[in-house]
């Protein structure tokens, strides 16, 4: 057992277990994070393979296994973090699902007469889109009559959501303003979205639902993550190009025989010389 004790810089007596506890996690937590950041991307990418390949066949059962594994490890971990992340993940999937369905109905349920969705479904799409924002707002505000309570860590999620919403809207405004060819409805929509996001964040800060520190942390994470993604993508692409350029070309067909080479030369000479074959 890690029982030996020592004094920290503030004079508090600490055990070695306390120190290691900050760095190491229990087996279930380690399995949860591995499944989340390695297992899930790995199984989801199997969907991109050819439909008759072994990878594509294994996509559904493996994804299901990874999801079950995430659930089991999140609930059996001693630490609270996997459970918090899993719960927020469930809420997020539900909200993104409604949003994706609403967008699908809005995009394909109108203009084109040969679209995959009947024309009248656009109203349902707009209702679903609106309900996404309402659900997010209600979960964050947490009124007493609401039967559903937001999971732990939700204020951090909400603050990041607001930062993501406002930042993307402002970037969208600039893009539509410069390249939008007079799409004024879209521009007004983006201005409204960013204004509502800012107003919402100010109201939530006023009422103490989210703190300015959480907004500050979310902004730092947003900038840092963007820089990190750009840096990692550049280095990863450079690495892949380097490895792929040195890779041997796979043999996909037999090389040409002498007879075929002769025939090819004949054809080329005929075509270059302008004579009839």
């Amino acid at each position: 057992m890690l029982g030996c004790a020592f004094d920290d810089l503030d004079g508090h007596q600490r055990s070695l277990h306390w120190l290691l506890g900050h760095i190491y996690m229990d087996v279930h937590a380690a399995a949860f994070w591995t499944l989340l950041f390695v297992g899930l991307p790995g199984t989801l990418m199997l969907w991109t393979h050819r439909s008759n390949s072994i990878q594509r066949i294994g996509f559904q059962p493996l994804t299901l296994l990874v999801l079950i594994g995430l659930g089991i490890t999140a609930t059996s971990s001693i630490g609270q973090y996997p459970a918090i992340v899993a719960e927020i993940g469930l809420f997020t999937s539900f909200i993104i699902g409604i949003l994706a369905m609403g967008t699908y109905l809005m995009v394909f349920g109108g203009v084109t007469p040969v679209g995959p969705v009947p024309r009248g479904w656009r109203a349902s799409g707009s209702l679903l889109l609106l309900s996404t924002v309402v659900i997010l707002g209600l979960l964050t505000t947490g009124p007493e009559w609401l039967f559903l309570s937001a999971p732990q860590g939700w204020p951090s999620f909400a603050a990041s959501g607001v930062v993501g919403l406002v930042s993307t809207s402002i970037f969208g405004i600039v893009i539509v303003w410069i390249y939008g060819d007079g799409r004024w409805i879209t521009l007004i929509g983006l201005i409204l979205t960013s204004s509502l996001g800012l107003a919402g964040s100010l109201l939530w800060i006023e009422s103490g639902v989210i703190s300015t520190t959480e907004i500050s942390n979310a902004l730092t994470t947003a900038i840092g993550s963007l820089l990190g993604i750009i840096l990692s993508a550049m280095i990863a692409i450079a690495l892949m190009v380097q490895i792929e350029s040195g890779a041997t070309v796979p043999k996909i067909s037999e090389p040409l025989s002498d007879k075929e080479i002769e025939r090819m030369k004949e054809i080329i000479e005929v075509n270059l010389g302008g004579e009839e074959e």
Binding site: V85, V163, T186, G189, L190, N217, A218
Partner: protein
């Protein structure tokens, strides 16, 4: 679409976003040096995780020769090297950091996705009714 113009527009938008949120933060806004250091550490954490996720997502290609294997090991090496750098500077991510980052990434992605959904919807809703050219052709023949 000129890349220079796009980069300028992006930079302008970034300045607007940072100014707006600095105003929202008010007194909670950290000093410049602190924020710069936090951003650098966040960038390293993100790069480490992105390389790990990329390596994980390439696992299905293992059977396709030496190149994918080399790429997976290369990405894992980059990820572990970043972890080493973080350990040297004393910013090794704890489980709490990992959880907070995951929640914040989920929040940022949800916010961005809401904007994409609404923008796509307004773009298609603002289009006028259009007719399928094949249907028009058929009508003329009749």
């Amino acid at each position: 679409m000129s890349m220079r113009r796009l980069a300028g527009a992006g930079l302008g938008a970034a300045i607007v976003v940072i100014t707006l949120f600095t105003m929202v933060e008010g007194e909670a806004s950290p000093v410049f040096d602190e924020r710069l250091l936090s951003i650098a550490v966040q960038a390293l954490w993100t790069a480490m995780m992105v390389w790990l996720i990329l390596a994980g997502s390439m696992l299905g290609l293992i059977m396709r020769g030496r190149a994918p294997l080399l790429q997976i090991f290369g990405l894992l090496f980059l990820s572990l090297s970043t972890l080493g750098i973080l350990a040297i500077i004393g910013e090794i991510p704890t489980e709490e950091t990992l959880a907070t980052l995951t929640i914040q990434w989920a929040g940022l992605a949800t916010g961005a996705f809401i904007v994409f959904g609404y923008t796509l919807s307004t773009l298609t809703a603002s289009l006028e009714e259009e007719e399928d050219p094949l249907l028009i052709l058929g009508r003329k023949q009749n």
